[in-house]
Symmetry: C2
Subunit: 174 residues, 2 copies
Amino acid sequence: MSDAQRQDAAARGDFETALADSDLLEIRVWLRLLTCTNLVERRIRRNLRADFEITLPRFDLLAQLQRAPEGLTMGALSRRLMVSNGNVTGLIERLAGEGLVERQAIPGDRRTQVVRLTAAGERALVKMLPIHHRWVAAMFAGLDRDEMTTLLNLLARLKLSLADDGGATDGDRI
Amino acid sequence: MSDAQRQDAAARGDFETALADSDLLEIRVWLRLLTCTNLVERRIRRNLRADFEITLPRFDLLAQLQRAPEGLTMGALSRRLMVSNGNVTGLIERLAGEGLVERQAIPGDRRTQVVRLTAAGERALVKMLPIHHRWVAAMFAGLDRDEMTTLLNLLARLKLSLADDGGATDGDRI
């Protein structure tokens, strides 16, 4: 329904139609947001598997560690992961076994470990990052620079809106 | 880096800085898209659990069935689900056990079943939908109608871009 049609509907006293359509805009935006995210995520997942035989949670974990050269505690790392992951401890265990990450106890705190990327982990990630970037660029190629900037800004407003709505405990990452 | 700064960098012959920043725009948009989706999804998941003691995959499944009064085959239903779900068959089994959905064989095709919402399933969903809508509206409250429409349109362009990039097999839903 166009704005003109909606105004017509409201002018005719058809408030339910006018209201229902207006009300559902948030739902439509939310479902489209979810659809786009699912589509991009699925494609990245598939490409990572096909080209690098790596899962998205593994890639996500290595990428988060690269952004924190000083290392991250298990808890901080879990909070930063972008894709849901049932078993971060098991994942780190396996990555450490392959020499891609290393765990180190914090001096004076024997219970807390810090996880870091190893040189081999860094190399593996650095090999993947430009290709990953190329995939994402191709997926967004239909939007020009201005449109992407507008999208980035609108999503920033959405993040603020989410924080205002009481999400102080959500732990934003971007 | 602002557009002016970027132009300055390019004018100084600092193409790498100018390029690197421009190149990463897609990644920034993608990560922010993922973050927003994660935040909204997490909050809906939490609210559904707290207010209705229902999981998001269950809610998703009931909502998809409501949009298809003629019922859906297992395969079609799986493709329409918005949140990933390890075990659709088991989920339907349990929902059928609770009388919220029903399965029926297609006449002349004994191997294919169609899943439909029962009257009880419809009632359960109809009770949740307006509250769910209120949550989403509150989360998007920081964006006015024009901004939401712009966001909706930009996401439509992103979906087209994804299709152009070769996602014909992705099975869009919105």
